[in-house]
Amino acid sequence: MEYRLRLAKRMLFNKKGSLIGAVLAVTIGILVIHVNFVIFQGLFDAIVRDISNYRNGDVLITDEEDYIDKSDQALVNWFERIPYVEAATPRLSSTASINMTKFGTLHEETRIPIVGVDPLRDIRASTVHETVSEGQYVFSRNSIVLGSNVARDLGGAQVGDSLKVKIIDRYGQDQIKRLVVTGIAKSPGGQGFDYSVVVHIDTLRDLMNRDGDTGSIMVKLNDPSKASDVKNFFLAAFPNDDFIAETIEESAEEQLAGFRSGIAMINMIGYFGMMSSAFAIVTIQMMLVNGKTREIGVMRSIGATRKDILIIFIFQGMIIGAIGAGVGTAAGLGYTFYAKETKMSFNNSLPLEVSYNWEKIIQTAVLSFILAIIASLYPSYRATKLLPVEAMRTV
């Protein structure tokens, strides 16, 4: 065994060009998968993160009847007694028509999503307030925060401007209220409330004629992995109500489904890339076998069996796979580290949520190692088929 490994190493390391080529093929295959993972999984996780931070929390409570009529105060207090819960906050949503006169011109926008928040609780359970780039978050009943796109569509609304909000209440009546713009919200990647407006929840309740009603309770956990436990605990505690409790994966499923299949496709492309690397190894090893035909003939003539020759070239595949997997994984981790530390984003868009998925990292390294061995099987088999007399004639 020892001499076969030594021969495999020497033959390979004395052909540095082939070794580097084969190792690079494996390295690039792994790197493609790591880069894909960092970018696309990072983007997916960033969207999940933002949906969770801005809209749904880790657990979202709604009601089959559209509105929760139980006291939001009581529900929030119930949640905040659970150690896993960081904070909970009520939300109410509808659509509104908004008009504003700017420099003598009337600007009107219809069907704008409007979200009512409890400002004191919201800043603990959500990070929407951090997206307010101008002015400040909702702080009184007559204040409104405009999404940056809504502000633009309203002719360039600014902090301090006054505008009219019209909502159709639960009885079909128009309800109008004048509000003052206190902030403009703009989130990186646009996952926040850039296309919505935010008002005090009580203001929206008044406009909708839904005194005491809540659209949803957004629950933020200090340990998101406990979301299912909290959800089940909640549903068990309120068995006779028509509550719907969903984890972020469930509540955002519709938004994430397309992305999930996109990631699966990108992963497939990555694995095809890895298979291309395997073909490159086959080609390089065939060259190695062809370059060592005479030596193979000599070894056979002095007593090496076909199995010995097979093992020598499979060892080469293992060496290529091991070095390639090591270098590729190191390069992939380097890229992941860089992306994480620099909070990588593209064109100032959504910062990627980069994570080290050790299971996937190990799986990729092991897979590429195995592929390198599989790729070496055919050249190794060809090497065993060389007849000593014929092989030694090769110059």
Binding site: E2, Y3, R6, L7, R10, M11, N14, R294, E295, G297, V298, M299, R300, S301, I302, G303, A304, T305, R306, K307, D308, L387, P388, V389, M392
Partner: protein, 225 residues
């Protein structure tokens, strides 16, 4: 035995009913002109190729029906090879080249000591750690002789061992082979077209048109069949 290459009208009879036996310890030359079939004969004896008809017996073992693995083992343990171009593995050192047949056999007991002794005997004990491609042609051929002897084979087969060397080096290699043959009581079968350099040997077999003859001059030839 006979060896026929090709089929039908392209048939070439490389060896034609050749039959002889060689005794242990004999130094035998196989001579003949280019294309006469002497290397083919050596390949048959060395189990590197199979005869079309006939059998090769080595140490009273019929090698005809041995499996590929058995033949490899046979080549490893019973036969030593010295080739025209030495055919050392350039990825290995001189010592590793000599050790290789022993490592293939899987018997490494005192292998290194034996290899160094052999390299000493061929005058290369100061080159053991050099890469095989860093030594001269004459030195490489000496290493090949040491490699051919490391497993103490029944027969050492040499195919034009001086064919690639200048006359001075050839003379040294020939003397070395004869010395080793005598010292180790080793059977040597040497294929050469350079009869004169070898001087006195135990036997000469001449191959002409695929047939084998005892002796070296056509007038003296006794047909071996």
């Amino acid at each position: 035995m006979s060896k026929i290459y090709g089929t039908d009208e392209n048939k070439v009879k490389a060896l034609d009913n050749v039959s002889f036996s060689i005794n242990k310890g004999e130094f035998v030359l196989i001579v003949g002109s280019s294309g006469s079939g002497k290397s083919t004969l050596l390949n048959m004896i060395g189990l590197l190729d199979r005869p079309t008809n006939g059998k090769v017996f080595i140490d009273e073992t019929d090698t005809t029906n041995l499996t590929d693995d058995k033949i490899s083992s046979f080549r490893n343990k019973k036969l030593g090879f010295i080739f025209q171009f030495s055919n050392l593995l350039t990825d290995l050192t001189v010592l590793e080249n000599v050790l290789l047949p022993r490592e293939i056999a899987g018997t490494s007991d005192s292998a290194e000591k034996n290899a160094i002794e052999l390299l000493k005997a061929v005058g290369l004990d100061d080159q053991i750690n050099k890469r095989a491609n860093k030594i001269s042609g004459g030195q490489a051929q000496r290493v090949a002789i040491a490699r051919g002897l490391i497993n103490n084979p029944s027969i050492v087969l040499a195919d034009e061992p001086t064919g690639n060397l200048d006359s001075v080096t050839s003379e040294k290699i020939i003397q070395l082979m004869k010395l080793m043959a005598k010292k180790l009581n080793q059977t040597f079968i040497v294929v050469t077209h350079d009869r004169q350099h070898f001087g006195d040997v135990d036997r000469i077999i001449t191959i002409k048109d695929g047939k084998a003859f005892e002796g070296n001059l056509p007038s003296e030839m006794g047909v071996l069949a």
